[in-house]
Symmetry: C2
Subunit: 352 residues, 2 copies
């Protein structure tokens, strides 16, 4: 299945100066002419916070007190991610959109230390990523790739992290289908660990760790969930989550911006299939976190070893039962998982 | 306040061979004479699982499929941690107990790879750690110290992890007040990170990292929550959780087994005070994870640098709002916190 992945990009500004970028699937939308008619809130109200260094773990923590005031599970009529309509101006001035990206009014990162963006997948408040058309899924991917390239090239940005939280069970505060982008002023701890592992693997074997991981999953076969010529979705051998799926491009590239058109176009077939299986698994929407793991920006050594892939972490282990990161995970960093990866993959293959 | 911390320890066996250890506050309980009258379940049903190595993160994951079948939020009448009574045999044969420790019937760790124990704090199903008497809190601490010494000296054990999960919000499946002990066949990732940080700090400054951390918190003052002559409870400068409190002994020792009697006896005053403040903060029970961070067993280099302390991670950030480890934390290892540590400490001091 090939998706025409061409998108038309229009960048403009909201009333308070935040950037909004439309990714349209057809030209001539006239997005730049649609103004945000709201009264701007004061900049001091919307950007605050600080980064602090944890000397025990050796990592940064972002503080953002103003986020306590962020909008919490509004009703559909008050959704700030829906298109604007007469009498109800939202974060998106347009009366409809394909994919819209804007700077978060309640960023987790402080002023001058990175940037937080919201990626709205569709005008339809009641959709989910799993119900997007293949064309739309490709547009979302194109938007994430664009943000990786643009933000990754910005001063002071070391890593672009693209992700989606889905479901109140993982802390979602807005139901409208959306993802996020964090442009970080540091390389995140997980990425640093990946790089250390890949470099150690290279030293030990002369090979790339991610190539080896993908080849081993394909050779084993039991943990494969879905695949096509360009992508393979599989449960990792040491999955941390009950239903964790890694979606790898067959040809290794360091980040989303490096995916070629054919690979971009082939993504929706595999990913929408995986998401459909997750929702059918227990006959109810699967709460998940979907994280694009990719190489830090502008680090040739990391680009040579890291492989972009999507990590889908599903938190429902059985109907009515969630996986919690309790003391074992949170206090010791030790994971226990009640679902064997081979059984998880089999269950997902059977949820056809 | 000094608590008589003397305990009387009796180790015996349950019907299926699992060990149960009573820690009594008075002698002459006759625990060894109380038999478990249940039919033993087959060992094959109760111990299974495996450890698998995650090559990307460089850490072990424990798989335990049988835990899917573990008892899930039973009613008080069916509680397996209450004392046995006529017609209802529980995991604890005695008709009443002070503190009882037994091998978990549903261990997260596989056979031959460590050991999982349950630590019951009281016969009273409706109590919590916060409502224990100081005497009882000291007995629980003595039990954890005993398990640290005994299990830490066992073959194949590299680390003893003592902890409590409190509240359904952090995944508790049994409401009866209890903690746990994991005797691990490896050093947990968090402990390895602490050790690396401490060794780097020593190389850089010539000093101990934990001594510096505690001295800085005391000198700053704003993040102190409670203290006495032997213990200091404070919010760390880069707290990861909305209301995170570290409880440090004033005199650094590597693990619970190394605490002296005076320090053990002084612990309840500070810790019960902290827990009471957490429960009063929002006028409802605070869901938390309490993790004893300590040095790995039998590692002199780690014993020289690591400092035992209790890390209390509270997950409620406001009434009706929880902190989630969503994609930012779970996928990138990047933490964002909506509550500034100085504000958290002030709120806890005011919840007097």
């Amino acid at each position: 299945m090939t998706i025409a992945a061409q998108v038309w990009k229009t960048a403009t500004r909201l009333a308070d100066g935040r950037e909004i970028i439309y990714f349209d699937e057809a030209p001539g939308s006239g997005r730049a002419e649609v103004a945000d008619t709201r009264e701007p809130v004061l900049a001091g109200d919307v950007r605050a916070g600080e980064l602090r260094w944890d000397p025990l773990l050796g990592e940064w923590v972002a503080f953002a007190e103003h986020r306590q005031a962020r909008i919490f599970l509004p009703s559909a009529g008050d959704c700030p991610l829906c298109p604007s309509r007469p009498g109800h101006s939202t974060e998106i001035p347009a009366a409809g959109y394909d994919v819209a990206v804007f700077e978060n009014r309640f960023p987790a990162l402080p002023t001058g230390s990175g940037r937080c963006e919201v990626v709205c997948f569709t005008s339809d408040h009641h959709a989910s990523f799993a119900t997007l058309s293949p064309r739309r899924a490709a547009t979302v991917l194109a938007a994430w790739a664009d943000r990786t390239a643009v933000l990754g090239g910005a001063d002071g940005i070391e890593h672009v992290y693209c992700f989606e939280n889905r479901g109140e069970e993982v802390g979602v505060t807005l139901h409208h289908p959306h993802g996020q982008v964090y442009a970080l002023p540091f390389v995140p701890p997980r990425t640093r660990r990946y790089l250390a592992s890949a470099q150690a693997h290279r030293s030990r074997t002369g090979h790339n760790l991610f190539d080896w991981l993908l080849e081993a999953a394909v050779a084993d076969g039991r943990r494969i969930v879905a695949r096509n010529d360009h992508w393979v979705a599989f449960v990792p051998e040491a999955a941390h989550w009950p239903f964790e799926v890694l979606v790898f491009p067959v040809r290794r590239v360091p980040d989303l911006a490096a995916l070629d058109d054919a690979t971009m176009s082939a993504f929706p077939e595999v990913y929408l299939d995986v998401l459909g299986r997750l929702d059918r698994l227990f006959g109810m929407p699967m709460p998940y976190m979907a994280a694009w793991q990719q190489a830090p920006s502008g680090d040739p050594a990391a680009h040579a070893e890291l492989a972009v892939h999507l990590q889908v972490m599903s938190v429902r282990r059985a109907p009515g039962k969630l996986k919690f990161m309790a003391s074992t995970e949170s206090g010791a960093g030790v994971w226990s998982n009640d679902v064997l990866p081979e059984a998880a993959a089999r269950a997902l293959r059977e949820a056809g």
